[in-house]
């Protein structure tokens, strides 16, 4: 049962692969020889994740052929992660018995699935998941969920490992551990990685595949023009000149960037300038016996930009949700936000009107069928979907944002058919659209390619400079620093669970 000896080469021969009706990869010619390890890269929406998924047998082969796909594939991706979460939520039988269900525990998610229980156990220990084994999978933080996905892929004896953005959302320690583990199995398991960040490319990668967007002719008899991508070229890592060119290609000049104006018609209640925007006093969050945040004091003054960091599971998102009012325990803590002492009769909509917010959790929750333009407009109303009649002015501003993101042509297309990265860009625009007094960006660059990451970072800098918005930025990547941000808060993971 030695996988490396059984692995034949994988060959795509003019393969056109469709994914539901929403995306088509056309005419892919691609060969993975035994011993090669690939990175797939390219622009957002070019089909990187689709190509990776095709290796796992996802999608419908329209023409051409694909040979040599192994049966046992380990796949980690945001799409697969979101699917697993959605499946867990669907399992939630809360309403059947009028009880609130607890969900599948982490132990079951891992050990009922992995064929190599010994390795799984080892990884659980290494990734620090041991104390979480009995917790419901859907109660985990984004990073913790990711770790569970990784263990399921690694410890199931894969003949091919497909890792779509495996390093995003992992803290520094976990990242090092994962990279070491991958390096150790490189002789035995061929790997294909989807990476948006060039600087994260592991040393063992031998080849890079670059994908580009494709606009196929509409299919005859169908009004739908589906989005598409194609494999533009491949680069051997030994070929230094080609490799450098590719790096350049992924960069974007951001000098003439202009942030669209706010809506002059929407006036917020005035804030008392002598008071801080946010003041948490001895903030504490616990689930049962588990302590997540322990007596945190934190004051955010107006115009004081902050970066919040800390390892996975250190409670970053929990602390943010105390501020946004999304965490139920905000009512048991001493929290002062935008002139309100929480729990004194204010509604969450009175709080949210001062905040623009983007996070991975928001992206999971944004599951309504609505157009791209409406997603941006929903930022004026702090809603998921639009339930108010938007003004012409708001529509104009939304269109300016779409133009800025290069998505004007897709204004009326459904949001849920976009790629993960494109969805993320729109949600960032949604958070910024009203020029909120407090802009909370919880790992905003997850799932973005190099070009769009530069774009978003530049936007954040412009917004910081603008003076009306205070930015609260959460990120693991130390190189994604915003020069205007000079206040840092680092949360520690609490060991006593």
């Amino acid at each position: 049962m030695e996988p490396s000896t059984r692995l034949a080469k994988i060959a795509f021969n003019s393969a056109t692969i469709s994914f539901d009706d929403r995306f088509t990869l056309s005419e892919v010619d691609w060969t993975i020889e035994p011993g090669q390890h690939w990175v797939i890269t390219g622009a957002n929406g070019a089909g990187k994740s689709a190509l990776a998924a095709a290796l796992a047998g996802v999608g419908k082969l329209e023409t051409g052929s694909i040979d040599g796909l192994p049966a046992r594939v380990g796949l980690v991706s945001f799409e697969a992660q979101a699917e697993l979460i959605a499946a867990e939520l669907k399992k939630d039988d809360a309403d059947i018995m009028d009880v609130v269900s607890l969900g599948t525990p982490v132990r079951e998610m891992i050990f009922d699935y992995c064929s190599d229980a010994e390795l799984a156990g080892e990884l659980v220990e290494k990734f620090g998941l041991t104390p979480l084994l009995e917790r419901a999978f859907r109660k985990l933080s984004t990073g913790e969920t990711r770790k569970v996905m990784l263990i399921r892929a690694l410890a199931n004896e894969p003949a091919l490992l497909i890792l779509d953005e495996p390093f995003d959302g992992l803290d520094v320690d976990t990242l090092a551990m994962l990279q070491a583990h991958l390096a150790a199995i490189v002789e035995r398991v061929p790997m294909v990685l989807v990476l948006n960040r060039f600087d994260e490319m592991p040393d063992f990668i031998t080849h890079v595949a670059y994908l580009d967007k494709d606009r196929p002719e509409p299919v005859k008899g169908s009004k739908k023009r589906s989005e598409g991508g194609r494999l533009a070229f491949t680069v051997d890592r030994q070929d230094e000149a080609a490799y450098n060119e590719l790096y350049q290609l992924l960069h974007l000049k951001t000098s003439d960037l202009r942030v669209p104006d706010a809506d002059p018609a929407s006036q917020l209640p005035a804030l008392d300038p002598s008071q801080p925007l946010v003041k948490l006093t001895q903030a504490t969050i616990r689930y049962g016996d588990a302590l997540i945040v322990d007596r945190l004091d934190w004051t955010i003054e107006r115009g004081q930009h902050w970066q919040l960091s800390g390892p996975n599971g250190s409670g970053k998102t929990c602390v943010l949700s105390l501020i946004t009012g999304d965490h139920p325990q905000c009512y048991t803590n001493d929290i002062f936000v935008f002139g309100f002492q929480r729990g004194s009769g204010e509604s969450i909509w009175q709080i949210k009107q001062f905040i623009g917010y983007v996070s991975t959790a928001l992206q999971w929750e944004y599951r309504v069928s609505t157009s791209c333009r409406n997603v941006v407009i929903s930022g004026f109303y702090d809603s998921i979907g639009v339930y108010n009649k938007a003004t012409d002015q708001q529509k104009r501003i939304a269109d300016q944002w779409l133009a800025l993101l290069g998505m004007s042509a897709r204004a009326d297309q459904p949001f849920n058919k976009l790629s993960y990265g494109d969805q993320r860009l729109l949600l960032i625009a949604r958070a910024m659209v009203k020029h909120p007094p407090l802009l909370i960006l919880d790992e905003p660059c997850l799932g973005l390619d190099d070009m769009n990451r530069q774009l978003v970072l530049a936007l954040i800098e412009k917004i910081c400079e603008g003076g009306e918005t205070t930015v609260l930025y959460v990120n693991h990547h130390t190189e994604d620093r915003i020069k205007e941000i000079d206040n840092h808060l680092t949360l520690e993971k609490l060991s006593a669970l």
Binding site: D95, D98, V99, V100, T332, E365, N374, S383, Y387
Partner: protein, 490 residues
């Protein structure tokens, strides 16, 4: 306790049954003001109790949970639900005397014992809120004269009530004031503020009466909503097996078929549901439905009569007193039906195929919706109520069957609905025995076997006119229009 409805004069009964109107957005301009600073204590921390409480608190209201001492001592799930979400939890003795509004969100069956325990503890002039009127109307619970009694009933499962609120929207909600208990005339203001607190005003609010809610709710759930779907599932499945259809296919066609065909109902009423069929299939479905209506009308009348007279609730309460022996027996029998025991196959069935191969199912939904509507309105229930409790809710119930078949449906609905559903099913299956003998796989399982789709013009015109002329279509068009105004702009 005497049946409250039966103590009223005919004039009063008719007046109460005729209450149901869709409220305007402007009627909610005062927001949650009427409840601001008041203490709201929820009894019951299941899916409705917890999620309504979360919404009310996020709307700026003061919410706490009163639980039974054993639930607190043993740290039961209800206790965990409330405490982990940062709510104050206490015993009835601790919290009820402080409450301005007590929200009774326990199951029907517990209402009498809960209200008997709570009422003596409530302070003078406080408000007691229900989400279903059975206890007041059918059991005849007499509430202290100084207390205001209202009903606020979100028309969706608890998780949905929360999810829509968090999105910035809400779910359609029914409100009512028990006129015998509105000493200060503030019942309506409180009910409206409560509906705003849960987000319901954004999705549309119906103002009804306790009586209209109970009598139409019972009728709808027993007949078209649950009973007809259960009987239809069992009969259609057995017929397909008899006709040699693959059991996996038959199981799937039914499990997901109700959901698919009633989705068309949701968008455009019975007319649109039949318009999804080819012309010959539409005429076939129409004829089958006419036949079904004639056979089933006496049964629908009997259900409505028993509901109105109180006979239904009387016999059901006897079963409650007898440890639910009948309910449990019938529940077990349902689990043993062939449909329930045959898993859905993994073949693909397109949305259109559910219509084409499920002509009999379409006919059953049409017959059930129209009969329930006709029977309710003939009994004095206003058309708006009758519409909501027949056509409007059918897709919601069909959705539960799609999740996990009849088990899921019967687990999701109240015990009261489940009991009535079985009563209907036991009468309806034998009633349709002769009719089913004439049924072949062309109307259930395979689709019509015709050379072309030609039909007679005059006949098609007659059928189309008859479909569109039914009164459920007229009121439905108006109400769906209101809802669409408030619905998400998509």
């Amino acid at each position: 306790m005497a049946n409250y409805f039966n103590t009223l004069t005919l004039r009063e009964q008719l007046e109460q049954l005729a209450k149901c109107r869709f409220m305007y957005s402007s009627e909610f301009d005062e927001g949650v003001e009427a409840l601001k600073g008041k203490k709201m204590v929820v009894i019951g921390c299941g899916a409705q109790g917890l999620n309504q409480g979360l919404n009310l608190r996020d709307s700026g209201l003061d919410v706490a949970y009163a639980l039974r001492p054993d639930a607190i001592e043993q740290k039961r799930q209800s206790w965990k639900n409330a405490t982990e979400n940062g709510f104050t939890v206490g015993t009835y003795e601790e919290l009820i005397p402080t409450a301005d509004v007590v929200l009774n969100l326990t199951p029907d069956k517990q209402h009498t014992s809960v209200v008997n325990a709570v009422m003596p503890l409530m302070k003078e002039g406080a408000c007691l809120s229900y989400s279903h009127g059975f206890n007041i109307v059918e059991e005849g619970m007499k509430i202290r004269d100084d207390l205001t009694v209202i009903m606020v009933a979100p028309k969706c499962p608890g998780s949905e009530v929360r999810a829509e609120y968090v999105r910035g929207f809400g779910v359609p909600t029914l409100i009512a004031v028990h006129e015998a208990n509105d000493p200060k005339g503030e019942g309506l203001a409180l009910a409206k503020a409560y509906a705003v607190g849960t987000g319901g005003h954004k999705a549309g609010v119906l103002m009804s009466s306790f009586i209209a809610e109970v009598k139409s709710d019972l009728m709808g759930e027993q007949t078209i909503l649950c009973g007809m779907l259960q009987t239809g599932s069992i009969l259609c499945f057995d017929k397909m097996i008899e006709e040699g259809i693959d059991p996996g296919y038959a199981s799937k066609l039914i499990q997901y078929g109700w959901e698919n065909i009633t989705e068309a109902l949701k968008y455009g009423g019975v007319t649109n549901m039949l318009d999804r069929l080819s012309n010959p299939a539409k005429i076939k479905a129409f004829d089958l439905a006419e036949e079904l209506k004639e056979i089933m009308r006496p049964l629908y009348n009997k259900h409505q009569d028993d509901i109105m007279s109180g006979h239904f609730s009387h016999t059901m309460m006897e079963d409650w007193a007898n440890d639910d022996v009948n309910l449990h027996k019938w529940r077990d029998e349902t689990a043993e039906t062939n449909f329930e025991k045959t898993p859905a196959g993994d073949m693909a069935i397109s949305e259109q195929e559910y219509f084409d191969n499920g002509i009999l199912m379409v006919a059953m939904v049409k017959a059930g919706v129209e009969l329930a509507f006709e029977t309710m309105t003939a009994a004095g229930i206003i058309a708006e109520s009758a519409y909501y409790e027949s056509l409007h809710e059918t897709p919601l119930i069909a959705n539960t069957i799609a999740r996990k078949k009849l088990y899921e449906m019967n687990a999701t609905i109240s015990d009261t609905a489940e009991y009535g559903c079985y009563l209907y099913n036991h009468a309806c299956v034998p009633l349709l025995a002769d009719f089913m003998k004439g049924i072949k796989s062309d109307v259930i399982g395979k689709g019509l076997d015709v050379d072309d789709n030609g039909v007679d013009n005059a006949r098609l015109i007659d059928v189309n006119e008859a479909l569109r002329a039914h009164p459920v279509e007229a009121v439905g068009a108006v109400l769906r229009g209101h809802m669409a105004d408030m619905k998400k702009i998509v």
